[in-house]
Amino acid sequence: MSLLEIKNLHVNVDNHEILKGIDLTVNAGEVHSIMGPNGSGKSTLAQVLARREAYNITAGEIWLDGKDLLAMKPEEAACEGLFLAFQYPVEISGISNAYFLRSALNAIRKYRGLDEMDAMDFLPLYREKLKLLEMDEKLMNRSVNEGFSGGEKKRNEILQMAILEPKLAVLDETDSGLDIDALRIVAKGIEAMRSPKRAMVVVTHYQRLLNYIVPDFVHVLLDGRIVRSGGPELALELEEKGYSTMETANATPA
């Protein structure tokens, strides 16, 4: 059984069709990259997977590890193991990073029938992951994303992923706004999360992240449709020729 199965997904926003029939199958252990220009529907796909409510799903099905994802609330999807690394992480004033993350972890543990983790057990885990992402421990007690630089926010997303250990991680333009050092660190964090039990869907505009995280599959999204699928070499081809060539090629999905 696939970890993620999207069948004929059609999505409207304000009566405007954004996704026009997406089919995608992702198995455990695989990393898929969704590439496409601005406005192609990449972020919409990511948000729909995370069950954001502003989208109107007009047709199609999504199965997460055999369960009907479209019947889930956002928090249920999260507890079932879906994680979205946000393109624009939000700030939560007055709530410390550590408290927030432990609350999230415990909400998920509780859903799965596990004991809640207390602050003493949580601390070493948190420290270990901070180290992985080369983040300052001081960030623990700062409010969630408040006063963080763009790069720190993105690292914080990966930190959360590392602690919540999702089955399926959807990374929405995690590389945008990162300088080369931050990109390397973020990529290292993501690479460390690769496992035969976990799948990732990496949504990105540029190929550069894929130099660090080599995907198993690359899909090109244009105007709400996957127009081409292939291996990592497709990303390089895109980098060279640009998205415009794909439009004319418009081959049937592999």
């Binding site: 995370a50 502003a54 928090e75 999260a78 939000v90 004033s93 709530i95 927030f100 609350s103 999230a104």
Partner: protein, 485 residues
């Protein structure tokens, strides 16, 4: 969006869990208010002559105000006229006179406090909290009295203070809030039936939190309690106040007065968690919480700090204030006021700077949800002699949903050019982005809202004593329900 709205609407169905009625035999005077009522109350309490005189003067003043229709109308609140003759001004659980120990207390009342989570019995006490409990109009038990007495601290019901420490009462009663202060303060002065009294002698730091728990039980009664706290030179005390009431369809009036006096180098910290019955979802019933609270920093280097978490009551009208008379004295006001459904709150503070180098801090967090209307009203006044005075005000409003309102009325009056004033204000809405972010991490919509609100209030919660802070956070979550949408 719909799932969010539905989830949160579901939460609104939760009930006010403190809304039960205790079945005890009550002794009450007939409804209505005239000089005879005052005399009756005073006689029941076997008060000395000076108290009766004071009450009568207050009553006469109030009667004039009432005739002149001088009930304050400036607040941003709406309610039908109150019929002051249709209220019973004294209601007390019947009990043997002169209670010597908790064992003699009506077991029904004890059970009530247990239900409320107020452990009256000393063995169940949270270590370090002494409780005075006011049930309707009468103070029913004061715990830890003996332990405090060893340090010379007086912590007792107001009635007892009148009997045992009349000189202190006479000296300080009305010295901060005179009976002429305002309509509700006059009414309180005339008819107040009990409350708490604290005196901390020179140089003594009160080793435990002192606490009063107010409970309105009887129907068609008002609760008019009066609290007087005096910290003598170099003394310090932290005082907590909590309140609940049964669910009733009629509105009930609660008009309390609190006076604090801090002498040289003394500190008083006064914390309130107010959770009177707020009325139902349509706005029916609930307590009118019309309260006058004021502290006077009489001595040099003295400090008075108010912290309030106001989640209950149909209407809150309350401005805990500081008169900063002593040089270098400090006044603080930290407030969280939440209005949900049809609740209205007009609350804030006054900081009156009289002495040199006086400093004040105001941090107000207003949360409006449902059809709630939340008003911050504050006055900072720097008088001519207050050279080097400073004030910092931060006033934030958080809106949840489309139908609520937040209003801010800051008044600043400066008569000394050396004053430094800072005022910050913000209004924000709980964003769908924030909610989605938290839910994507596994938190329910309910927990997400409550986390955002708790974060918003953090600056104030930090000022609350530990046990209270936890309680306040829980209360906020419960009171918040029915919010986004």
């Amino acid at each position: 969006m719909s799932t969010n709205v539905d989830t949160i609407r579901d939460l609104a169905e939760r009930e006010y869990k403190w809304g039960f009625v205790t079945d005890v035999e009550e002794e009450r005077v007939p409804k209505g208010l005239n000089e005879d009522t005052i005399r009756l109350i005073s006689a029941k309490k076997q008060e000395p002559e000076f108290m009766l005189e004071w009450r009568l003067r207050a009553y006469r003043h109030w009667a004039l105000l009432e005739k002149a229709d001088a009930e304050p109308k400036w607040a941003n609140i709406k309610y039908p006229p109150i019929d002051y003759q249709n209220i019973a001004y004294y209601s007390a659980p019947k009990q043997k006179p002169g209670l010597n120990s908790l064992d003699e207390l009506d077991p029904e009342i004890l059970r009530t406090y247990e239900k409320l989570g107020i452990p009256l019995a000393e063995q169940k006490m949270l270590a370090g909290v002494a409780v005075d409990a006011v049930f309707d109009s009468v103070s029913v038990a004061t715990t830890f009295k003996g332990k405090l007495a060893e340090l010379g601290i007086i912590f007792c019901s107001f009635s007892e203070a009148v009997q045992k420490h009349p000189e202190l009462v006479k000296k300080y009663l009305g010295s901060v809030v005179p009976y002429t202060d305002n309509f509700f303060a006059s009414l309180n002065a005339a008819v107040f039936t009990d409350g708490s009294f604290v005196y901390v002698p020179k140089g003594v730091r009160c080793p435990m939190e002192l606490s009063t728990y107010f409970r309105i039980n009887a129907a068609e009664t008002g609760q008019f309690e009066r609290t007087l706290i005096i910290a003598d030179e170099g003394a310090s005390v932290s005082y907590l106040e909590g309140c609940t009431a049964p669910i009733r369809d009629e509105n009930q009036l609660h008009a309390a007065v609190v006076e604090l006096i801090a002498l040289d180098n003394a500190q008083i910290k006064y914390s309130t968690v107010q959770n009177w019955y707020p009325g139902d979802k349509q706005g029916k019933g609930g307590i009118y919480n019309f309260v006058t609270k004021r502290g006077k920093c009489l001595g040099v280097n003295s400090k008075i700090s108010w912290t309030q978490v106001e989640t209950g009551s149909a209407i809150t009208w309350k401005y805990p204030s500081c008169i900063l008379q002593g040089e270098n004295s400090v006044g603080e006001f930290y407030s969280v006021a939440l209005t949900n459904n049809y609740q209205q709150a007009d609350t804030g503070t006054k900081m009156i700077h009289i002495g040199k180098n006086t400093r004040s801090t105001i941090v107000s967090k207003g949360i409006s949800a449902g059809h709630g209307q939340n008003t911050y009203r504050g006055q900072v006044k720097i008088l001519k002699g207050a050279t080097g005075a400073r004030n910092y005000t931060q006033c934030d409003s958080l809106l949840i949903g489309e139908k609520c309102g937040a209003h801010t009325f800051p008044y600043i009056e400066v008569k000394n050019s050396t004053a430094q004033m800072e005022h910050e204000a913000s209004t924000s809405k709980i964003g769908e982005d924030q909610l989605f972010y938290l839910r994507q991490r596994g938190l329910t919509a309910e927990d997400a809202v409550s986390m955002i609100v708790n974060g918003f209030c953090k600056r104030v919660f930090r000022e609350l004593p530990m046990e209270f802070a936890v309680e306040a956070q829980k209360l906020l979550s419960v009171s918040l329900e029915g919010s986004v949408g």
